[in-house]
């Protein structure tokens, strides 16, 4: 799925009748990588796209699941299962080595730090 959007949506946006919302996500740092965990409940691997471009990652996913027509809604807290998240990753990520894994509705994106961005040990002479 390609997009021409150039800015990150602050709130849900409507495009082609799909309403995207920004998923909840967490960021964790280690010496070698930055881990981003994005909650995408209801979306399967085939319904998910991750693109890396212009120092940004874009995650888009929307569940094809539709509620059966004869179901009556008694109470609803969930939003539509269509998610979009754009994150700036900057210069210090090795873009070619980005990895992503979807498990139990959570997409884990591993952003390895570029060699130049890793902490360097300086030899003392």
């Amino acid at each position: 799925m390609n997009t021409t959007m150039t800015c990150q949506p602050k709130e849900a946006t409507t495009e082609n009748t799909i309403t995207y919302s920004q998923p909840r996500y967490y960021v964790d740092q280690s010496m070698d990588d930055t881990l981003v965990q994005i909650e995408l409940p209801g979306v399967s691997k085939d319904e998910l796209n991750l693109t890396v471009e212009n120092k940004e990652i874009l995650v888009e996913g929307s569940a094809s699941y539709k509620l059966p027509e004869n179901w009556k809604v008694l109470h609803r807290e969930s939003k539509a299962r269509a998610y979009r998240l754009r994150l700036r990753i900057g210069d210090q990520v090795d873009q070619a080595a980005i990895k992503a894994q979807l498990s139990d509705g959570v997409l884990t994106v591993t952003l390895p730090k570029a060699e130049a961005a890793k902490p360097q040990k300086v030899k003392i002479t």
Partner: protein
């Protein structure tokens, strides 16, 4: 793994309306203090019905199937989850606990639960409606 930053706490926690008391009592005036606790997760829950069943959807991404328990206490469906996060130097846990009071009589022995892509689906068949019974008039 430990979460250092929690940048978008938007999906679950903003819903102060307490579903647990949705059918019985008005929601509490103030949110429970529990909801402020970072480690208690408040999943979004939906309740549907069709002719034969009530269907509950709970969005609990990140939990493993084995970390979720589904209990039925009379007409109250209780959903619980506990996930232990082990870090190098400390361990913590994330949990949720929500209950749904079902609006009408159900068949508690035919409940079906499945977990897929972070969404828990519980299907609870309704008790069979009282069908009119015809009684033969004898001479």
């Amino acid at each position: 793994m430990k979460y250092l930053t929690r940048r978008q706490p938007t999906n679950g926690r903003q819903l102060w309306g307490d579903f647990d008391s949705f059918f019985n009592a008005p929601p509490p005036f103030l949110p429970s203090f529990f909801d402020w606790n970072n480690d208690v997760y408040r999943p979004a829950i939906d309740l549907f019905e069709d002719e034969a069943s009530y269907i509950v959807h709970a969005e609990v991404p990140g939990f493993d199937r084995k970390e979720i328990t589904v209990e039925l206490e009379k007409d109250r469906l209780i959903l619980k989850g506990l996930r232990k996060l082990n870090d190098d130097d400390e361990s913590s846990e994330v949990s949720f606990h929500r209950s749904v009071t079902l609006p009408d009589a159900i068949k508690s022995d035919k409940v079906n639960a499945k977990y897929e892509n972070g969404v828990l689906t519980v299907t609870i068949p309704k008790a069979e409606a009282l069908k009119p019974v015809q009684i033969e008039v004898k001479s």
